[in-house]
Symmetry: C2
Subunit: 346 residues, 2 copies
């Protein structure tokens, strides 16, 4: 059942609460020694710019909903946030994004070589809290979480490979199933699957089958990604923190673009393929506006929203299977409200 | 005592032997599933181009010299080689290198976004054999090696930050101590310190103080790096596999360049600083030749070779302290001969 009318004040409240707890511990994992100017000041930059803390909050809330303690989940939450920020730096380079969280992207501010290196360092630093897990969670649970971190990083790299490969080679013979597989890998594992799985591992002390969390996280994370792509087209630039319509400019294979390629008339499609095949710098604002107008003409944004809405329904079903035997709690309520929040946020 | 006259046939023989063993297991750690074209074919590319296998061989030989078994060190050797190749991909981007091991560099062949992502994936894949270590070495030793891998990756990132930061900001107020610190971090940890430490951990089952290996690896690795930089100036392009004089073109802060900046006359120095401050593409072959001629005029290459030779002597001393109580073995002999090999190879 969709519950789009719920007030959902709990989501921003708890994102703020768990986000603050995560940032407090995260700052203790950031080295403060030299080299500062060329490394550790840069490592601290993206995390200090803020962000919603969705991933660490989902990890902590899942751990608590399953009976775990905040302090046992916090290190893993920090690790997730560090890994997320590391990948953001590299993604911004790959996407030629100029802005991140309302400021110039790392490679614009510091140059490409230092940006790549900073992302590398953050990926490595994201392992430290997971090593430290063995003191609170024991060696076996710590190793299970490490292996899930490794799996997640590989899934992310596979998804990123598909996305940038399709763009590089101007692959246009793509269908919804291709998009869903790419998003499962690139977005869902890091954003929803892994945080839920790690939370459940910690909450249950390792005594739980993690497979259903792949389904739950897939439905939730895909709805989240579609909404993110929709906001790139219709959002408010100031609150979005990135360039509006930037995805079209980048030639990013969003659900809307794939839908457009499927629905366009032959001559329309040829023109779209031609524009997508231009080097990024040759793609003008007028080209972008025209592609955007074709998306509107074929109802691609409405279609994407319908898909996201169905995915939210599926995520709610998976949630009820996973959480129905758990006692009611603020954390359980948070996760339930988060499911609709992902497509209602702006 | 320098033993420059030893025949040293053992070094190429054992590099070939341990290199082959490492490559055989490494290939089993390379995923063969999709996405191949945009990820796993690329992951396999640099390792398949060959390379000397210095790092994995030092790891295996140290493990065996300290009483361990080849099969117990092989996974860690694979991990070291994967991490090394991952960093090569990112280094080639940062250095704008066009060739690697006689072929176009990854970012030239595949484009920047896929090259960054491939390096990321390989860094993550380098952890898998270290996770698997727990089955053969037990959880505690496996975790110690993981922590040394993390330390090494961070040291490498710190060294890389210094090197590219100095170049980006055209830092010229540098002295030999700055160079040595940068090389300790960027080269020695991954090339000599970490392989020796992991080998000794495996050979002794964890019962050894690892501190002396930092000294041994520092002396050996720095001699290795200086020789590498010298070969960039005087080597044979075909066997070197990279562009000759490329370091000067890149403005790389080698010992020769730092020595030149220290020894140059004021007007000569101003000109060098000016040329180093040009964007890379504005630095012509004539500029490079002129800087190179100034290095010759001030005996910078001879000086660097003297430093490397002294470091080899220091490494031999540390070697004798570390290995004198061990029984003679082919592996011990290999490491001893490796010390002079690093500055005699061409």
């Amino acid at each position: 059942m969709m519950r789009l009318s719920s007030p959902q004040k709990l989501v921003p409240t708890m994102l703020a609460e768990y986000g603050a707890a995560t940032r407090a511990l995260l700052s203790r994992y950031l080295p403060s020694h030299e080299p500062r100017k060329y490394l550790y000041d840069l490592v601290a930059d993206y995390p200090r710019r803020g962000g919603r803390a969705l991933r660490p909050s989902l990890c902590i809330a899942t751990a608590r909903a399953f009976g775990g303690r905040l302090e046992d989940a916090l290190g893993s939450a920090v690790s997730i946030e560090l890994l997320h920020n590391a990948l953001l730096i590299h993604d911004d380079i790959a996407d030629e994004s100029e802005r991140r969280r309302g400021k110039p992207a790392m490679h614009i501010q510091q140059g490409l070589p230092l940006a790549i290196n900073t992302g590398d360092a953050m990926m490595v630093l994201s392992f430290r809290p997971l090593f430290d897990n063995r003191y609170s969670l024991g060696p076996n649970l710590a190793m299970s979480i490490l292996e899930d971190a490794e799996r997640t990083s590989i899934e992310s790299a596979e998804g990123q490979a598909l996305e940038i490969g399709w763009r590089r080679d101007n692959v246009v013979d793509l269908h919804e199933a291709d998009y869903l597989l790419m998003v499962l890998k690139k977005t869902c594992w890091l954003t929803t699957i892994y945080p839920s799985r790690v939370g459940a591992l910690i909450g249950t002390g390792g005594g739980i089958d993690l497979t259903p969390f792949v389904r739950f996280g897939y439905f939730l994370g895909t709805a989240f990604q579609i909404q993110d792509d929709v906001l790139n087209l219709i959002g408010d630039e100031a609150s979005y923190g990135k360039e509006l319509d930037g995805d079209i400019h980048e030639g990013k294979r969003t659900l809307m673009l794939i839908r457009l390629l499927e629905r366009a008339e032959p001559d329309e499609k040829s023109r779209i393929v031609e524009l997508l095949g231009l080097p990024r710098r040759a793609r003008t604002a007028e080209h972008v506006r025209w592609i955007r107008s074709r998306m509107d003409a074929h109802g691609c944004i409405d279609y994407a929203r319908q898909v996201a809405s169905s995915l939210v329904g599926a995520a709610q079903h998976e949630f009820s299977l996973l959480h129905s035997y758990l006692p009611p709690s603020r954390d359980r309520q948070f996760i339930e409200e988060l499911i609709t929040w992902v497509i209602e946020r702006s």
